[in-house]
Subunit: 557 residues, 2 copies
């Protein structure tokens, strides 16, 4: 037994916000039995991943060791924790464990990919325990921005690990379990070797605020609105939806929920018995018959998503509803970095309709689901772990979180995706680097982040694309003229002439002068024509487009 | 004279932050003599303008009336106010007026485009007056985030207009004139008919803070740093550069400025005699010989620009300097919405090197150059105008600014790009809508925002690009097989086969069955092949790429 070790290796989520996937292992070196905590996605953007549908963590390393994988634990139902389950489970094929609400969402993910929902097992909170090889795992409730978020107590022969999942310190969260220092203290009192802890808000110096604190300001905002009130937040934040809906009802408004994702989340929470006191709502059909001063809509699209209800309202009508002068639109949310352009676009479009747009600039209409620095310090104290490993955050967040832990007397290390550490002793030791990365779901296909496919798209987006086709006979003599097609480039160049024609003339000029050796060598001819196109584009446009040359060599049949 | 009118029409900057261009006119309807205030650019992004170099306001309307344009006034040297001068002056050909520092930058813009620098005239602050047709224009100093920012007093036969330019309320701005309520009150006391006013920070509820307030916190931050300190801010914010440099010198550090734009701005400010007390600096060559604890670098790239010094340091070495554990990197700046991804990328890359990265989250290391709500209210009071027209801001900002003015008893209207208002009477009246828009500088060429060029790039970025080429003889009989090239698409489709081969087979299958009529009609054949490609891509990839089909019809010579 003395050669057994406890290892930890994040495959996603450590050094980034998104696609969480954390592996723990216990056993002899290279033969550890493994568990996986969370299997999430991250979202693409035009800068780095245009056209991509979802970004998944590369599970190749774990898939090769799937025979050693005992179980997959999902801490909560956010996409960055469960979104990759359906896509990646076939590579892993281990039983999945989650609490009821999370399991319902996880089963949907399995079903969407035609997988067996029964692989997802429902677990209650501690003391219920899942035995997974050498691991004994218990779920404990934490407050977060959706129902039934959990941390994990992971007992191993080498000692106890606590993985916090995502959490906030909120003693009145509206929906879901409040932050419970007594329960957490009891977990800590039994001795925690290693705390693996959320780092998202480590740079926020003030203590986090409670969901309950939003109610008065929201109610006042609704009371002061003449026309219709439309509010958006994260679809899964059913506590916020309840706070918002209550603010509507208090002010004599009927509440209508719009947007598939939001309806689904409310429905799931109600089915799970977690949302018994949500005000009764009306359908969009019923809403149309109600005066706008008596109406409150809760809609999807807080991040500016182009197809969500918010964006559709900003472009005109959504399900028969239209906003106008006197109405209020509330972003009861924060903007995830990178989504600003889309959110601002919607806010301005609504403003142009005469709608008052309110966001959380005044910090009255949204609270975060993650622990600020003082909240982290409270968690550290409650757990009393010897080692704190920061997770769930950009590198800068992990680094700051480790610094705080070390200052408080813990040992810590910044462990990013792919770094394997040995936690058996008192101090974490780096023992390996394993391959990690990102895989893109692109339409129905998986594309590797380094396959060059997305790089080519970005190049076409930056430079346009020029196609030049030429037919030559078996002796290398051109049959007809070269033909150019341009896409995504100015129609005319510096000389004022049509660019395609200039390119064709330049290619024809080159062919007139080209020697036999070039004309008879496909690669040489292709390269030479590519050079002609490149140089002409630089002269005419000052740009470097992508270039595709197709030389067809017709062999007389 | 009674038929003369005073008009205002923004051609850029009203309903957006960027590319400011405001036209005022006075005279008989349709024959007003015109002046233009500012001629700026805005910056492209991958979401909407991939590959574009600069976005300029469309000056077509004004260019058609260039014979009526008396003058161009530039309020200050930020790119969103002067950046388009060189590109668009040839359409306008009116004399340019600016204060010394701004004129130096404006002359560079002219020279870069091979234009006559002498078109830019230097004007002193009031009482110096430029007569421009019926307008008498005086520059008055305002505090902002670069030297010699100005507002304009525009006296017309219909009364006085005050155009604030960009300003902040800062009585100790470090470099440049402090906010001067006495001077502003005197302008107001002479009677202001219309105030045209910066709206950028209208949603900020607290009074703006002074540049001077940053000095203690910056000095403390530098004092507490073990290694090298590297700070970035906007290149033109020479007051901040001075505050930062002083913080370095106070702590026994030599200061080295890196990045072309920053050196240029400091040099220009010094040449204009505006920066007499900037600490002496050392060259990067000299910096290499100095221990890092005695060194402070001021670098470009606060917005995450990929080629700036910050980004280069985050990727490794810049001009011989490398950051490492113990060093500090400070963003003494705010992130312009839309630039978050780039900034976060740099912060994380530096953190991975062991560098402590500090930004303005604590609000200790940056102040804005624009007026917050209480500052706007102060300006409103000082001017005592009957009408306040909000400018320089998103629609939502203009709307809120107008609301505040109306609540304070002024008349106001949200006037966005292209809306012409008549300011002759007591209340602004909308009298016309003129064509406006955006023009893209793309390499050396101008591309219209609606030309479809950029739309094609975005489509290729989202969907990839498939090319299918086919040669047929004069009887419509295929010569050889169809040939497919794909760019920016997964190599293999659902069936696991090479996508190009699947496309070629699908096209060949189609050709086997195609009737003579289709084969002899170029358009029909092209459309049919396009449909085959589209359907195959949907089946194989679940994607809709851009498709280019080239059918070459070989006529026997």
């Amino acid at each position: 037994m003395s050669s057994d070790r406890l290892i930890y290796v994040p495959l996603g989520g450590a050094g980034e916000v998104g696609m969480n996937a954390y592996v723990f292992g216990y056993g002899p070196k290279g033969r550890e039995r493994l568990i996986l905590v969370d299997l999430g996605v991250t979202f693409p953007d035009m800068d780095s991943t245009p056209g991509v549908d979802l970004i998944l963590p590369d599970m190749a390393w774990l898939a090769e060791r799937a025979d050693r994988l005992e179980a997959i634990f999902i801490t909560h139902a956010h996409e960055d924790h469960v979104g990759a389950l359906g896509h990646l489970w076939p590579q892993l094929k281990a039983p999945v464990y989650a609490r009821d609400f999370t399991a319902r969402i996880a089963r949907n993910k399995m079903a969407e990919q035609g997988l067996d929902e029964a692989q997802v097992n429902v677990v209650k909170t501690l003391p219920e325990t899942v035995a997974a090889g050498p691991f004994k795992v218990q779920f404990f409730p934490v407050s977060h921005s959706l129902p039934e978020a959990s941390g994990l107590v992971i007992d191993t022969p080498a000692g106890r690990v606590v993985h916090t999942g995502d959490f906030k310190v909120d003693k009145t969260p509206g929906v879901g379990e409040p932050f419970d220092p007594e329960m957490l203290g009891a977990i800590g009192a039994e001795g925690v070797k290693v705390l693996v802890c959320d780092s998202t808000n480590v740079h926020q110096p003030d203590p986090g605020r409670s969901e309950l604190s939003l109610a008065p300001a929201l109610s006042e905002l609704v009371a002061n609105t003449r026309g219709m009130v439309v509010a958006t937040t994260f679809a899964s934040n059913v506590a916020r939806l309840r706070t918002l809906a209550n603010a509507g009802v208090e002010n004599g408004r009927s509440v209508c929920v719009m947007g598939r994702a939001m309806l689904k989340m409310i429905d799931t929470a109600q089915q799970a018995g977690l949302l018994t006191d949500f005000p009764s709502t009306i359908s969009p059909e019923e809403a149309k018959a109600i005066p706008r001063e008596n109406l409150m809509l809760l809609v999807t699209g807080s991040q500016g998503e182009r197809r969500a209800a918010s964006a559709q309202l900003s472009r005109g009508t959504y399900m028969g509803m239209t906003m106008k002068e006197g109405d209020l639109f509330l972003f009861s949310s924060m903007t995830i970095p990178g989504n600003e352009r889309g959110v601002i676009h919607i806010a301005n479009a609504l403003s142009e309709m005469g709608v008052d747009v309110v966001d959380n600039a005044s910090r009255q209409y949204h609270v975060s689901g993650h622990p600020n620095r003082p909240d982290l310090e409270e968690m550290h104290r409650l757990m009393g772990a010897g080692v704190m490993i920061p997770m769930h955050g950009d590198h800068r967040m992990l680094r700051e979180h480790a610094r705080i832990a070390i200052a408080a007397g813990m040992r810590s290390a910044v462990v990013t995706n792919g770094t394997m550490i040995d936690l058996t002793g008192d101090a974490p030791q780096v023992v390996d680097e394993v391959p990690t990365g990102r895989v893109y779901l692109d339409g129905s296909q998986m594309v590797g982040a380094r396959d060059g496919v997305i790089r080519d798209r970005i190049r076409m987006a930056l430079g346009g694309h020029v196609l030049l086709t030429l037919i030559v006979d078996e002796d290398g003599v051109p049959l007809g003229e070269p033909w150019a097609e341009v896409m995504g480039l100015a129609e005319r160049g510096r000389g004022g002439r049509n660019l395609a024609e200039v390119l064709e003339d330049a290619a024809a000029d080159f062919l007139d002068r080209a020697d036999r050796k070039t004309m008879n060598d496909d690669d040489k001819l292709n390269d030479a024509l590519r050079r002609v196109v490149r140089q002409t584009c630089m002269e005419e446009l000052g740009k470097r487009p992508e270039i595709t040359v197709v030389v067809s060599r017709l062999v007389d049949g």
